[in-house]
């Protein structure tokens, strides 16, 4: 029998990961957010920044989830949940929605991941044998100007999700730009992974132990995150 290890008691919560991603968004950005932690990002955008969120089913200007009595069956998001539209939101068909994606109009797409490789390969759509479904992920990783991953550093069994080479089917090769986890922030660079930030209370050794690929440590990153 395998024992499910508990989540490490240090580092960022899921909401804190989302908040950390939100810090890196700028006023005027256009951003697509995937399911999981990314979907929490909009709640953490500072009020002085206007970021427009894109939902690939055909909405630019996605607002917060509605109260139950305000749900509109004609207004849903990419996870098929009910959503709202901010003032100035625009609706379009799926072809225009993906034209916008492939045409490079999204500042960033923020996604979860099953695995990310040292060279930025991403696996986040399929576990062979499970339900097959690709959605818009393959379009988004090719089209968005930057691809940010927001995820737990290790999977439920404690295995690293940042790996030398992905073993799961790829969503795209060399597409990831940055990884935000409960433990750290890492950039994917032409020279390989670079740890640019430690989560509060996390030290480099902990990140190394939880990471399945080598990484450099950026200048100015201390031994323990603050």
């Amino acid at each position: 029998m395998t024992v499910q290890p508990e989540a490490p008691p240090i580092g960022r919560t899921r909401a804190e990961i989302a908040a950390r991603v939100a810090e890196d968004l700028n006023d005027g950005d256009y951003v697509n957010v995937g399911l999981g932690i990314p979907l929490l990002v909009p709640d953490h955008v500072a009020p002085d920044k206007q970021v427009l969120f894109h939902s690939e089913n055909g909405l630019l200007g996605m607002g917060p989830a509605p109260a139950e009595h305000e749900r509109d069956p004609d207004l849903t998001e990419a996870g098929k949940g009910f959503t709202t539209a901010v003032a100035g939101a625009a609706i379009f068909d799926s072809a225009v929605s993906f034209a916008l994606i492939r045409g490079g109009r999204l500042t960033a797409t923020i996604m979860g991941a099953l695995q990310v490789s040292a060279s930025g390969d991403l696996a986040n759509w399929y576990v062979p044998g499970r339900r097959p479904g690709v959605g818009g992920a393959m379009d988004l990783v090719q089209g968005a100007r930057t691809v940010w991953i927001a995820m737990e550093h290790v999977d439920r069994t404690g295995a690293p999700k940042i790996v030398e080479r992905c073993t799961l089917p790829l969503t795209g090769r060399g597409v990831v730009d940055r990884i935000y986890t409960d433990l750290a922030v890492l950039d994917v660079t032409p020279a390989g992974l670079v740890l640019t930030e430690l989560a509060p209370g996390v030290d480099v050794a902990t990140v190394r132990a939880a990471t399945g690929a080598p990484f450099a440590v950026a200048a100015g990153v201390g031994e323990t995150g603050r």
Binding site: L59, D74, T76, K80, S94, F98, P132, D139, P169
Partner: protein, 243 residues
């Protein structure tokens, strides 16, 4: 006089081939999905359908009903997440052409636009492009067919895959408002794949929430010109029939 409004769902669906048709179905999940039309097709005992749709239904409604009743032989789409879909796919009863969502949208648009093929970056370097994704299983769980390997080509130093247009026999769509010329207006994110399915198909049937007099939809606010629509039936009439 052009009048595309039909008085019954039977009339609206009369020309749908009963066996083996490629049928594109609008909607994203249940949003904008022509649930009533799809279920009416089940009543007509349509079988061996090649469904083209982003999803394959939720619960027991719409395409999920068609799926559960074993009427789907092939599926082209991006996210057939229904548990029954997995079961039938793995049991060798459904051939799956898994397609990135944007590629699905663009293949339908191309079909409607007389563009036979185009290049896209989506899927490059993945099993959906290199021909290693299981498209069909045998009865004992063995892979009978893999996805077609896609032709690749470089433009300006970047690699793309060649994708072919989809030209369904029939489109079933849902809209908010219609007039008798077939002009349609959609509401909010219920638009999604509906205009694209309509443009791609040889025969397009729309269930609509309401019919308005010709001229009431301003020319600038028509999302889909009536030339792309053949038959329109008000959802109320379908509900009565299917109930």
């Amino acid at each position: 006089m052009i009048d595309k409004i039909r008085g019954s769902v039977a009339e609206a669906l009369a020309d749908v081939p009963r066996r083996g048709a490629m049928i594109a179905v609008g909607g994203f999940g249940d949003c904008g999905a022509p649930l009533a039309l799809v279920e009416a097709l089940c009543e007509l005992d349509v079988r061996d359908v090649h469904v083209v749709s982003n999803n394959c239904g939720i619960g027991e409604r719409g395409l999920a009903r068609m799926l559960i009743e074993g009427r789907i032989a092939r599926f082209t789409g991006s996210f057939p997440a229904h548990a029954e879909f997995l079961a039938q796919y793995r049991a060798g009863r459904i051939h799956l052409d898994l397609t990135p969502q944007g590629t699905l949208a663009e293949r339908l648009r191309a079909g409607g636009a007389g563009i036979p093929a185009f290049y896209t970056p989506a899927g490059v370097g993945t099993m959906l492009a290199d021909g290693t994704f299981p498209a069909a299983y045998g009865p004992d769980g063995e892979v009978l067919a893999y996805s077609e390997p896609k032709e690749t080509r470089e433009f300006d130093g970047r690699t793309y895959v060649l994708e072919r247009a989809l030209k369904p026999d029939v489109a079933l769509i849902r809209a908010h408002r219609a007039d008798r010329l077939g002009n349609l207006a959609f509401r909010l994110t219920a638009r999604n794949f509906n205009p694209l399915c309509a443009m791609a198909a040889r025969l397009t049937i729309a269930e609509v929430e309401g019919v308005v007099p010709v001229g009431e939809l301003p020319p600038d606010q028509i999302h889909l010109p009536g030339v792309f629509v053949d038959h329109i039936v008000e959802e109320e009439l379908i509900g009565d029939r299917a109930a």
